[in-house]
Amino acid sequence: MKPGIDYFFNLIINGVVVGSIYSLIALPIVLIYKSSKVLNLAQGEMVMIGGYLCLSIILYTHLNFLLALLVTMLIMAAFGLLIEKTVLRPMIGESFISVIMITLGLSSVLRGVVGLIWGPQTYVYPRIFHGLGFAIGGIYFSGIYVMSLGLCLSLLILFFVFFRYSILGIAIRATASDQEATMTMGISVRKVFAITWAISAVVSGIIGTLIGCMRGLNLTISSYGLLALAPVILGGLDSIGGAILGSFIIGILQSLAQGYLSSFVGGSVEDITAFLLILLVLIIRPYGLFGTEEIERV
């Protein structure tokens, strides 16, 4: 294959992988927003904690990878519940600015705590998926890429089924659309919030571990949280499908931009493409591709 086409496909693959990472970070954000209208700006930090936690478990208890991941998920669930109870509960009913700022405050605290416990150096996961890669023609598929894509798809299907068919999923959707009505139906809205945060924390844990395996861990991982806002906006804040589609679109666009434009612009183009796209979306279609338009009543 010609080098030009090779390059293009490699970029696409890279973009798809990056997109799958974004989608798994965007998913909890949308989840929390859907149920409680809170935009969790501390999502990146939660992802980071998940990654560090799993690594520490692997290094200190020598459990095998899957068991360590399971333990991480349990701890993260508890962590999510804790955060919801201490930080978010007092904010119910407060103004929108307060809620956003408290998640920003939380992100600051979490970053500091991680830095304090684990220090500023880069950590590397043991090589679990090494050697599972393969190449077709000039296109490289490394093992971990396949893993992440597979994981992403399975989680997405899981969530789709969950929200459509399970009682808890329906309860969450109900809370999202009308809290008061849900309460009159006898569903404990508080429990729904708590469970939503727990689920988000668990997903963050998984994706943090995945990022750690793919790239290594350091304190900058938390910036993924802000980057993941781009697909969330693109797809619409309360649409899970939209967030996922948006993630892949942005991942691919970023990869292509980086691949073709960086020599002209001379800087790292990735982050900018995402945010330029956001601005564009906000001007043309603020509620995103699939979001529901908010109708306000006076």
Partner: protein, 350 residues
């Protein structure tokens, strides 16, 4: 006319002045005099801190207009301050304009650029505006770093110190007085805007924007004006900052700066000029205080305590925000107000 006991107004005209009674006027003048005297005997480092605080106050007042009064959350304030700084640098260095002209011009330039990014805010609200301003912050950061022909990129842009009519402000002490004047002007202007129809319009947009629209407050016009005022203040703050540090570089204006300013107005009090002042003082001094603690006192206990500074700083910063939001969402200004009210009736308990 009978003399009344206490503080009584008889018509709206009497209620309007900023300094309502003679005693308030006296207090304010004393305060200004004290601030002036401070400049003569405080150490250079303290004056340096006061300059930083002063600049932060101006920036915070600006952000308060956008977010506190009008309810539009902006995560782009740090970038706008940066635009002000770079404008000052380019105007003074490339175009050779004197400080007196380049300062307000920087404010205006920032204002214009602020409007460009502010336009999306008119269509969207709340969350979406937050993201739009965050996007603005990151895009402006990118331009600062990569539009090298304009901004000198990562090297940073060096500018000479400010000078008015030949008098050069090259020491922290001299600069202190300059900044003090600007702070007083900003606070005065800010208070005046607040109590004018513009201020009332802003607050009405924050509280019930659809109702405001129905009553005749043009959302488009007043939101734009609020953003303009806020970014103008940011531009002035940035220009003052530029002349103070002598160098502007993209690293001075990251997203965390925007978050710091938001913290200032939250801690200080949304929608209050005094709040901006309190908040600015608090947030600027907090890391200094922590540094002091770690460097001087903890070094005995834990030799590498100094290395923990950034992490502990972040934790402290986050905790302060969280604690204030949970326990005192209206900020320090609210505490001030309540204490003041308590003393109004003192020593009577009722």
């Amino acid at each position: 006319m009978p003399e009344f006991c206490g503080d009584i107004r008889e018509n709206y005209f009497q209620d309007e002045p900023i300094f309502k009674t003679r005693s308030i006027r006296f207090c304010v003048i004393t305060l200004v005099v004290i601030l002036g005297l401070l400049g003569t005997f405080l150490s250079e480092y303290s004056l340096y801190l006061l300059v930083i605080i002063g600049i932060a106050v101006i920036g915070a007042i600006g952000l308060n207009f956008i977010t506190g009064f009008t309810g539009m959350i902006s995560l782009g304030h740090g970038a706008f301050i940066g635009v002000g700084a770079y404008s000052a640098a380019i105007l003074t260095d490339r175009l050779g304009l004197p400080f007196i002209i380049s300062l307000p011009l920087s404010g205006l330039i920032t204002c214009c650029i602020g409007m460009i990014f502010g336009l999306p805010s008119l269509r969207v609200k709340g969350l979406y505006l937050l993201i739009a301003t965050m996007a603005a912050q990151l895009i402006i950061n990118f331009l600062m770093l990569n539009w090298r022909s304009l901004t000198m990129g990562a090297y940073g842009y060096a500018i000479p110190p400010a000078s008015i009519l030949g008098f050069v402000f090259d020491s922290d002490q001299k600069y202190y007085y300059l900044v003090l004047i600007f702070v007083l002007l900003s606070v005065l202007a800010g208070t005046n805007i607040r109590r004018s129809r513009y201020g009332r319009a802003f607050v009405s947009i924050r509280d019930h924007d659809i109702a405001a629209d129905l009553v005749g407050v043009s959302l488009l016009k007043y939101k734009t004006i609020a953003f303009a005022i806020g970014t103008f203040y940011a531009g002035i703050a940035g220009a003052l900052l530029a002349h103070h540090s002598g160098v502007v570089s993209p690293e001075h204006f990251p997203l965390s700066l925007s978050i710091e300013y938001l913290a200032m107005i939250i801690v200080g009090g949304l929608g209050s000029i005094m709040g901006s002042i309190y908040g600015a003082i608090f947030i600027v001094l907090l890391p200094e205080f922590l540094q002091l603690l770690l460097d001087e006192y903890m070094v005995e206990l834990i030799p590498t305590a100094a290395a923990f500074f950034p992490q502990v700083n972040q934790i402290l910063f986050g905790c302060i925000i969280i604690l204030f939001l949970i326990f005192e969402p209206h900020g320090l200004a609210e505490i001030h107000r309540r204490v003041k009210n308590y003393f109004k009736l003192w020593p009577f308990p009722y």
